[in-house]
Subunit: 117 residues, 2 copies
């Protein structure tokens, strides 16, 4: 057996709804929904809200991780989703999750990289 | 003020010392040392050890995050370091941290991407 690289999407997006970038509570519910919808296995998470607004969050998965760092003052966020392909091919899930993220935040992609790793 | 993109290094490396990839305890000490050495601000972390060996870890920082997912059975790991440039220019720190990581794991880079985001 060889290591099977997974897909990592890294994106920066902006949004007209910067309220969603201000505090993490809504995003926490959203990411829990994503974990359930795509049958991912969460093994831990960090949500940290900054005093002046904005938050940083990482959801650690057996499959790898999701992360978001928000900048409400610039109406933008950097988002990552990386799922390994250990037990099954997850590349489609990675793309679908990113689509869901754009829908949730009403985001427009400013920059995107797709890396197989 | 405009958003100042930070540097994100994503790498896959292998190592002759796969014991370091087997359990997270040694890496946890190492990452705490990194946080201190580079005066980063940790806001949370997740370390998850898999039953069959290997671990996944994310250190969440006010500056963004570090992550590692290890595959001792393949003697390899995927590592990320992403530091924003909000309060200061951190690109050099990102590169130095990646050098420290390679030294600690005796790693040889198999794949690397540098993304300004």
């Amino acid at each position: 057996m060889h290591y099977k690289p997974g897909l990592h999407i890294l994106a920066t997006f902006n949004t007209p709804d910067s309220a969603k970038l201000n505090a993490s509570a809504g995003s926490r519910i959203f990411f829990d929904d994503i974990v359930n919808k795509y049958a991912l296995q969460k093994v831990g998470e960090v949500y940290h809200d900054f005093e002046g607004g904005g938050f940083t969050a990482v959801v650690c998965l057996t499959e790898s991780h999701l992360s978001i760092h928000t900048w409400p003052e610039y109406s933008l966020a950097t988002f990552d989703v990386f799922l390994s392909n250990f037990r099954q091919e997850n590349d489609d899930k990675v793309r679908q999750i990113f689509d869901d993220v754009l829908k949730f935040y009403e985001g427009t992609t400013l920059q995107i990289s797709e890396i197989k790793r």
